[in-house]
Symmetry: C2
Subunit: 478 residues, 2 copies
């Protein structure tokens, strides 16, 4: 028997080290604006600063924090910087971070209701609150045949939706090979890469994903979808799944659900709606137009971890028919059997996701909603959209620049009129300056810059300064 | 333009609220032993204590913490209790929790190297450290053709391994339907339910999973595997994947890799080894026998979030041929293109997993390894195994009880000799007492209790008291 010596942190050591970390994070937020947004590290630079071998003896906590400061920090791209305008935001907030801390401290598993009832019930409750907050169709609420669950990401949500669609189309014959090469799925040619990934994972085959043409706003053309479905049916194929996007990654295009929905209904296609970033806008009644037609959807997802101040990971995923999802993903080995499950009166979220284990992610969502209130969340969403629209006004007013498309919400796609290489140099110069971080896309086969306003602490002055710098650098490069 | 009013937490408010949470967690650890391990909540009880509608106005942080205490806490099953002996542990520790806090505070995304170089490089470095610490085959290190990545769970790891196997068997024809109903996979009939789930997700069809017979130690019989593969080949099927388990969930059986490996090699089957809990034992040289034959494996996974003091989620997954994995999961849309990726000199972990987004999970692993040192980790693993073995000695010495199998490590499967209903009553009485939490399995068609020692703060006195209670309750029920 080894001796009773312990290497664990005592509760008092945890208090002391915990304060150090809390203070370090608060200090980080205070100086974040002064740090270069995009990391300047070269490949291999961080690893070369780390010892090649793991330590045999333990080290004091201060040593770790010192290395976070000296080694890790210079290797970070600061997603929480108010000057982060790249990709989509992955914003966060104090209450979310502390909800995550509490979740880690409790360390409970929510795979079954019985393994921590509060973990499951708070999650169901938050997803029902969000049905109210976004005014989603009532069928997604847990009191009917549907319900919601927290997934890690929109990628996992679309995968689960596709799997349920595949099983529904093949009669839930999970004993058989789930795919015979005839199942077909549809998304616009602007849809997120995760859909292509899901098609591959689910074994449908990449060639069975149809990328439907878009209109001048880069939104899916419903008539093209209808034509393609008819063509596939005539070819003896089995259309089963459509992913419509509410706010595409490239340009924030809003697929017209009200026109897509009836096509899906007619042909019994599972309609999944991906509102990963933009769904958050529906917190405000004036932006709920993005969800017009959502009553046709079989499933819907949006990510509080993008634009709703809730740190990654937290994707909210709803289905109209939870039985279809559960039938697709349920496995019940002996060691997971328990009275609560067998009573049928509880939700076991392991049957709603790919993984078995799951942590207590509803806590951070609960903290965020209660800290801000619906009122506070609406305020900040409106503020971000107003800032992006003001930026778009400046672009419109500047003859050397153009908007690639009218921005519906908080993402502005624009470019200098001097062509691709000029825009690439502009982008590189801005990002290398450390003053901001933008990313790009291609629209109408032209390199296009994306300016997305959604970071928690982005204020008018950050957007103003960014536009000044963009103009200035464009002049320098001219 | 909305006003400049802000609902965000200021850095100073974060400091204050952060200390409250840190202290709450420290207090929780101090009183954890006195709380009933298995929650006594009834279905719906937690939800009924929550307001039906989300708050319109924000609330003070103290209100949330008060509700955590009054509403959430009674609804938790305490996985961090030293009296938690159920399932497998999902243990944690101070340094891990603070690493998670820091990761949440930084809020960076590690989907591409460029989106935070330190997030990727620290992860690769930790996975290389673990190759040394567990003495894994060198081919899993990043300096050759392989490498490691952090997945959320062993379920996702086995899914990624299966997908790579599927693609390798079909010539990476991702354009085609990935499965034609002829691909076959193998695992022992004791393997984890996640394998069956992965088979369904990947579209192979449940009927194409062969559950190979086990020997008296509940480990896979290699000759049965060989026979089944030959039979399937003769039937015109395409065997492609074997999952061997090092420490099954039911009884901790160790599949014989050294005998399974050559069969896989001969038939070019992808061999994945699942060491979800027990892999941690290989921190100690005297337990590395569990990995004997691992040099045959194409992939390997173990979970620091089970038994290595690192809070969920943290599964470490290695492949011998990273190109196969990347070719299976890579998607490169325009908006993710960047110079570092195109240089080929960096790792983009989005191509190593199902999801796109990923958080900075290597931080907590780094903190755990540095806090404990290899020495401290070995000490606690040895201690847990010694406690479990002492418990097994007591069972052996008690005529009314029997071991269901010789326990190789830290999981003891045992039962009262009075039969299933007596064991069920014993289990229910123990769990309802709140003094401990055990789960069950079936072995040799008999209800069997599982006693797993792996919780961070489990000491000799907890195991002693548990055995005393088990004997006492058995006497009461007799």
């Amino acid at each position: 028997m080894p001796g009773q010596e312990s290497f664990h942190m005592t509760p008092d050591e945890f208090r002391r080290a915990g304060r150090l970390v809390v203070d370090w994070i608060a200090d980080y937020y205070e100086r974040l604006e002064s740090l270069p947004v995009l990391s300047r590290a070269r490949p291999g630079e961080i690893r070369s600063a780390l010892p090649p071998d793991p330590p045999y003896q333990g080290e004091p906590f201060e040593a770790m924090l010192r290395d976070v400061e000296n080694i890790v920090l210079p290797g970070l791209t600061h997603w929480q910087s108010p000057n982060f305008f790249a990709f989509f935001p992955a914003n966060s907030s104090g209450p979310a971070v502390l909800g995550e801390l509490l979740s880690a401290g409790l360390g409970v598993q929510g795979m079954l209701w019985a393994t921590s009832p509060a973990c499951t019930e708070l999650e169901t409750h938050m997803l029902d609150w969000l049905v109210q907050m976004l005014e989603l169709p009532a069928k997604f609420g847990s009191s009917g045949s549907g319900g919601g669950v927290i997934q890690d990401s929109a990628s996992s949500a679309v995968l689960c939706a596709l799997l349920a669609a595949r099983e529904r189309a093949t009669g839930f014959m999970s004993n058989e090979c789930g795919c015979d090469g005839r199942l077909v799925a549809y998304a616009s040619d602007q849809a997120h890469s995760s859909i292509e990934k899901a098609i591959k994972i689910a074994g449908l085959g990449r060639q069975n994903l149809r990328l439907v043409a878009v209109d001048s706003s880069f939104a899916m053309r419903p008539e093209s979808l209808a034509d393609q479905v008819k063509h596939d049916l005539a070819s003896g194929l089995v259309p089963c799944f459509v992913c419509a996007t509410v706010g595409t990654t490239s340009s924030n295009a809003i697929d017209p659900l009200a026109a897509i929905g009836p096509i899906c209904q007619k042909h019994r296609l599972w309609l999944h709606v991906d509102g990963a970033m933009s769904g958050t806008a529906a917190l405000c009644p004036e932006y709920r137009f993005i969800h017009h037609g959502l009553e046709y959807a079989d499933s819907y997802a949006f990510n509080p971890h993008k634009w709703m101040f809730t740190n990654f990971d937290c994707d909210c995923f709803w289905v109209a028919d939870r039985a279809a999802l559960i039938q697709t993903l349920s496995i019940l080995p002996e060691y997971l059997r328990n009275q609560a499950t067998e009573s049928g009166s509880v939700i076991d979220y392991r049957d709603w996701q790919v993984q078995l284990g799951r942590r207590f992610r509803a806590l951070k969502l609960w903290f965020v909603i209660r800290h801000y209130g619906v009122n506070g969340l609406q305020h900040h969403i409106r503020h971000h959209i107003a800032l992006a629209q003001r930026f778009a006004d400046w672009v419109r007013a500047e003859p050397n620049f153009e908007l690639a498309v009218e921005p519906p919400l908080n993402l502005v796609c624009f470019r200098h009129q001097a062509g691709d290489s000029a825009n690439q140099r502009l982008l590189d110069r801005l990002n290398n300056s450390g003053e901001m971080y933008l990313t790009h896309t291609r629209m109408d086969d032209k390199l296009t810059l994306r300016f997305c306003v959604g970071q928690t602490h982005t204020e008018a002055r950050h957007v103003e300064r960014a536009w000044q710098r963009i103009q200035w650098v464009a002049l320098e490069l001219a």
